[in-house]
């Protein structure tokens, strides 16, 4: 229970369904004040209070589990390391993979519980003795992307009671009807451990500054930067280039090379990617090693792009029907068969 409206309503529905429910809030910082961010983060003291209050209203026990060490190592340090290597990670996905549906689930199972229920919007379906992960009914709320890293074992012990809901407004109305005060609480959108929203500033505080060149595709120096971790592939704003492009058109970050401390920029068409090489594949069920027609998604609210997908034990290869822009190494590519999640991989290399 994050302290937000979704997990509170999810808990309420589990209680209604007759389950024996215990509310768990995750302490993800040794020093919760440092994450304090009004209602915006998900691990502040106020959020812990709001979660406890919701559990009290529901009449269920409530405990705070301290996963701050695991979170620091598996999510925050991973985030910083990935940026330092010129990649663009998704920490929420990492948190689901390493913390919520791993460390938390393991602890719950060991303590004698059967499953973890969360306020994620995604649907689980039973078929052929397996649990399948599907998109939520309402595309705008669908969170199957950030759950795409879960495997069959994790899915078997997961429950998403909000799956069939069409709109957040309904969940808010339900929260209000249930007397949950947090019904009006705004949604959180930021990375919870960077409540200011200043990702570049956070990374600079962890990685320091190092002045380097911004070059164009021909290797011509067109500007300077103070640290490659301040950039992501596809970024257009904040480049502060001194020399305009020959054709006067906007330029985008094409690639980041921490080894040479160089950021390469170029026109939008150079961002076009039509093949994706992903590593560390995960599968929601049986792996699919044959070449298949599917959909690839590379961002939480990105579009599902038609593609040919193939894989082996080490890697996933995605050939997009139409080139897409701004696909960065480090992002996860989640592969769908229609609306069903098949698996995911971490993008290592992209090609035109």
């Amino acid at each position: 229970m994050s302290g937000g409206v979704d997990s509170a309503v999810a808990a309420a529905r589990m209680v209604d369904a007759g389950h024996d429910v215990i509310g768990v809030h995750l302490a993800l910082s040794k020093n919760p004040e440092s994450y304090r961010s009004g209602a915006r983060g998900c691990c502040s003291l106020e959020d812990s209070h709001d979660a406890r209050r919701a559990a009290d209203v529901l009449g269920i026990p409530f405990y705070v589990w301290d996963f701050s060490d695991r979170f620091a190592a598996d999510v925050v340090d991973d985030f910083v390391t990935e940026y330092a290597a010129g990649r663009t990670p998704n920490p929420c996905l990492r948190c689901n993979e390493k913390i919520k549906f791993a460390a938390v689930l393991e602890r719950g199972l060991a303590l004698g519980f059967d499953a973890i229920a969360t306020g994620h919007y995604a649907e689980l379906r039973q078929a052929d003795g397996q649990v399948q992960l599907w998109r939520a009914a309402e595309a705008a709320k669908d969170q199957s992307y950030v759950l795409g890293v879960l495997d069959q074992q994790q899915l078997r012990h997961s429950l998403f009671p909000l799956a069939l809901d069409s709109a957040k407004a309904d969940v808010r109305a339900e929260a209000a009807a249930r007397g949950l005060y947090l019904a009006k609480k705004p949604d959180s959108h930021d990375i919870c451990f960077i409540p200011t929203g200043d990702t570049a500033g956070f990374l600079t505080s962890r990685l320091g500054s190092s002045v380097g060149d911004i070059v164009d595709e021909q290797g011509e120096v067109v500007g300077a930067h103070s640290g490659t971790h301040q950039f992501t592939v596809g970024q257009r704003h904040g480049l502060r280039l001194g020399i305009p492009a020959a054709d006067g058109r906007p330029r985008y970050v094409l690639s980041i090379a921490p080894a040479t401390n160089t950021v390469t920029v170029g026109p939008k068409q150079s961002l076009a990617v039509s093949s994706i090489h992903g590593i560390r594949p995960t599968w929601t069920g049986e792996p699919r090693f044959e070449r298949w027609r599917g959909l690839a998604q590379v961002r939480a609210h990105g579009s599902a792009m038609p593609a040919w997908i193939s894989a082996d034990r080490e890697a996933v290869q995605v050939e997009l029907d139409e080139a897409a822009h701004g696909i960065a190494p480090g992002q996860a590519v989640v592969c769908y068969d229609g609306d069903r999640v098949i698996g995911s991989a971490t993008i290592a290399v992209t090609g035109r």
Binding site: D20, I22, H25, A27, P32, L45, S48, R52, P61, Y63, V64, D66, E106, R107, G108, A110, L111, G112
Partner: protein, 379 residues
């Protein structure tokens, strides 16, 4: 499912006699400081309660200073004692406390770090008297050592500390919150200058306590206002709560000896049953309150055991503080020489009038499985 409440040291449900006494006063106008008839009536009840509480404690009525509870009484004793003593003898600026005090005493270390000295704690859970004798001297303004530790239940040698404090010319305060009602207390003969008590640990209402302080001990007020309580503590005293406190104290003191032996048997039963589980140990040794048991569970997080017991209908406590809901290792056990793991794996079970043998057997019936699961989750 009938729940088993084993957290009386956090708060014991009010006894019927306290409710009845409070209901008798009922809702009526009257500020005990007012001169009119309603005020006089309120004052009559308040002073009656003061006389009754004093009698329960072996104190004089004028010694009783009502407060909002134990925390305020401890704060008043510590800060008021330091300021009052400094006004009389400026060379006495040091505070000597034990290493196992409640946060309402111990947290003064953060406020006045250069003025606080801490007495070592023996592995048994008692303060080290030799160390106390070395620390207490001509610069000591005030000594504060609790009578019964709130986490382990271990009795502290307050009589011996009183002799050391008297020899060193220091004032002595004791936090007797966990002792009142569980041990016979005789303030006048204790050698103690100030003693903290509170109502809700012995079957009285929450929201009232008292600092019992000898009139010769000139504490300084730590707040300002009407000076209702001996010009030492300001604020209108809640008469109804004072009456409830006095009534609960009368009951607790009258039943103290019988309850102590009854609960002592339950304590022995719990300890024997729990120690039969591998990797469980008793924290603290020697004379102890019959109402508090502190058990260490090797290879567990205490809050996991707590949660599993909660799910089985048993209310226990970790005893130590939480920070943002996260259970912290016990400072008391750390002071006794426990490792960080040991100090993170302890639970407190505390008894009161409602505690029965059936309660202990319920706990012993589910404890092995809870410990087993908590260990599985910790591995």
């Amino acid at each position: 499912m009938q729940r088993v409440y084993l957290d009386h040291a956090a708060g014991s449900p009010p006894v019927p006699q306290a409710w009845e006494a409070m209901a008798e006063i009922g809702v009526r106008p009257g500020n005990p400081s007012s001169l009119h008839a309603a005020g006089r009536e309120a004052r009559r009840h308040l002073e009656q309660a003061r006389e009754s509480l004093a009698e329960s404690l072996g104190a004089r009525p004028a010694d009783v200073v009502w407060t909002s509870g134990g925390t305020e009484a401890n704060n008043l004793a510590i800060l008021g004692g330091l300021a009052g003593r400094a006004a009389l003898s400026p060379e006495r600026s040091q505070l000597v406390i034990s290493g196992i005090e409640h946060p309402s005493v111990a947290a003064v270390r953060g406020l006045l770090p250069e003025r606080v000295r801490e007495i070592d704690t023996l592995p048994s859970g008692q303060v080290d008297l030799d160390h106390a004798a070395r620390l207490i001297g001509p610069t000591t303004a005030l000594v504060s050592v609790m009578t019964v530790n709130n986490e382990t239940g271990i009795h502290q040698p307050v009589g011996e500390i009183a002799a050391i404090a008297r020899a060193g010319g220091a004032w002595l305060h004791t936090d007797a919150v966990q002792a009142f009602g569980h041990l016979p207390l005789d303030f006048a003969r204790s050698g103690v200058d100030a003693m903290t008590v509170t109502a809700h640990k012995l079957g009285g209402p929450v929201g009232i306590g008292a600092l019992v302080v000898r009139r010769e001990v000139a504490l300084a007020p730590i707040g300002f206002g009407g000076g209702q309580e001996r010009k030492l503590r300001s604020g209108t005293v809640p008469v109804v709560l004072a009456v409830g406190f006095a009534a609960a104290a009368r009951v607790a003191v009258a039943q103290q000896a019988g309850e102590a032996s009854r609960l002592g048997l339950l304590r022995d039963r719990l300890v024997a049953g729990a120690l039969a589980i591998a990797g469980v140990k008793l924290n603290g040794h020697g004379p102890s309150s019959s109402a508090i048991v502190n058990l260490g569970f090797a290879g567990c997080r205490a809050d996991d055991v707590l949660m599993l017991l909660d799910a089985e209908g048993i209310d226990a406590a970790t005893g130590a503080a939480c920070s943002a809901g996260v259970h912290q290792p016990s400072d008391v056990l750390l002071a006794m020489g426990s490792t960080l793991a040991e100090a993170s794996g302890a639970l407190r079970f505390s008894f009161g009038p409602s505690t029965s043998r059936a309660d202990i057997d319920r706990l012993l019936g589910v404890l092995p499985q809870a410990v087993h699961r908590a260990r599985r989750a910790f591995a």
